[in-house]
Symmetry: C2
């Protein structure tokens, strides 16, 4: 599938869906749309990804295209009207549109009618299916061991770390599956429940459903975490995933230098060992879970030496083995989780 990824004014720093698909997706990315960076390339910004040109609008792409993928996830998940021209043009040239916004493109009158006219699909990844229900508290009963990534904030790399561990495990011949819980993971896998979009009563149940579906066919499940139990807006999602997944082992994800929750600067992060202990205390009465490793995102540090020092500090503060699994190697963490 040949796709263009819309990431206007947000690539690369605030376009985690775009980055996730560029890193792990099966799709061939023909171009990234960012009107702030026309003429640049993906590789100018992030070295270890699938490369692609950055263009100002979809009309600047001459190649054939199967789909336009919305690669940004603004707080609140709204549709930015400045994207309308690109989405309209995509539909008119026969592209499907794949979106993880809270705002459903399939319920937008103009897009729905236009998609009908041109016979294309509007796939709202974040639209949950209708049969979700409450958790029965039985995820731990599956045969697989369950490994969940948890974080100190949103956008610290939980999806990336889960995905990386899953891929490295598979390369080593381990029978593992990936359980997607958010838009990027779902776009990469092609299935999954968008946990942040389900009815709040069904948060844990929607995770459990996926674990029951895959858990007896594999030895390990790598579950993509969301948010943080201390996030002022999203903690409910995180807590539901923590209890619904009944994970055996947790990997704590963090960004080097982060001291407070982004956009909620009054919420200062506790020391890493306390943060980990809070996750464990909250999990334990439902299912004993242990933070066995840490994953530190050091992408914004230039030198590997500085990054190594940051990892060492993080590891000391956290009290369990840690690394940057993207910059260095995922094996250090993987060993602790298997």
């Amino acid at each position: 599938m040949r796709v263009a990824i819309l990431a206007h004014e947000n690539f690369p720093g605030r376009a985690k869906t775009a980055i996730g698909v560029l890193r792990y997706g099966e799709q061939e990315v023909v171009a990234v749309l960012d009107r702030d960076r026309p003429g640049e390339r993906v590789r100018d910004h992030v070295p270890d990804l699938q490369d692609a040109p950055i263009v100002g609008s979809i009309d600047d792409i001459d190649e054939d295209l199967d789909a336009l993928l919305i690669g940004v996830a603004p707080i609140g998940g709204g549709f930015d009207e400045s994207w309308r021209d690109d989405v309209r043009a995509a539909i008119e040239r026969g592209c499907d549109v794949i979106s993880g916004l809270h705002y459903f493109l399939s319920e937008d009158e103009e897009f729905a009618a236009l998609a009908d006219d041109h016979g294309v699909e509007l796939w709202d990844v974040r639209k949950p299916h209708d049969d979700l229900t409450v958790s029965k508290g039985v995820a731990a009963d599956v045969d697989a061991e369950i490994i969940l990534t948890v974080g100190t904030d949103c956008s610290v790399g939980k999806m990336t770390v889960s995905r990386e561990l899953y891929e490295v495990a598979r390369e080593q011949g381990v029978d593992a599956a990936f359980i997607p819980t958010g838009q990027t993971g779902i776009m990469i896998e092609g299935w999954g429940n968008p946990i942040d979009r389900v009815i709040s009563d069904f948060t844990a149940g929607a995770v459990e459903e996926m674990i029951l579906e895959k858990g007896n066919d594999h030895d390990y499940l790598f579950v993509e975490g969301q948010g943080s139990i201390l996030h002022p807006a999203y903690s409910g999602v995180t807590c539901g995933i923590l209890h619904g997944a009944m994970a055996d082992r947790l990997v704590l994800c963090h960004v080097e230098g982060k001291e407070a929750i982004r956009s909620y600067e009054d919420t200062v992060l506790p020391p890493m060992d306390e943060y980990a202990a809070l996750y464990e205390s909250l999990a334990a009465p439902v299912h004993e879970s242990e933070v066995v490793a840490g994953a530190l995102n050091t992408a914004h540090l230039e030198s590997d030496d500085t990054a190594r020092q940051a990892v060492d500090r993080f590891e000391t503060e956290l009290g369990v083995p840690a690394t940057d699994p993207i910059r260095f190697d995922a094996e250090t963490i993987l060993e602790e989780t298997l």
Copy 2:
């Protein structure tokens, strides 16, 4: 408003909506429907409520009726098909139907058509409004002090305790408001966001919205809590309320003798002081909250002496003043919260 309350096979033990409306609602309750107890009366089971006869079906009620209210909340919030005859008969005699189920009566084809024919309203209390969004983390900025009830499980009395504290505070001349978060509270107040039914990303935001609406017009807000942070299915809702409400003080609610989460018996409750400390640790990075009192539900104990002993044990284990605010007096708790 003259109402009948449907509570088939569940009155009184598993009909907390019915009990809440009987205790605090402005409505005149003409009868309770429970096909297991025709001929009995409310007062046979719960002494300190508005009394009403219990009948087997709505056809046994001769008096005029304005509305039928669904007074049970089964796990999952589904509609029990054995209730259909009563709901149909209610609509046909011109009653509105008020429901807090996850299953929306207004989207049931038969009921919607019938309600249209008879010009009655189907009010689905649990249907959230469309403008909800994520929390900004600013509930603590309102003028009012915020008091939130938290619990060791579902159905331990959080709504009742919040409501009782609110009513006693008002009797004492305190300028207080009640913030409803669940179906019963909403039915009693006539407004409110059904937190367990909103999109999980908006859990905290839906609480914050209500607090911002009322918080500068009153000195105290009594916020109805939901679930428990250790409930395997509903913890996400609880965690979202805890962080969205940014409460100054918490009241821990418990049922005497409870040792595990109902229907999830593997989840054993920690000692009360640890349970309270876990709520405080989880709240603190977002907003410092302190468990200042405990509320113990002793309704199932016959003797007041036994109940007093239970309260004493609970108070000792919890480490802060406690009582049964319904059986004894709410003032003990109220003093700690103001």
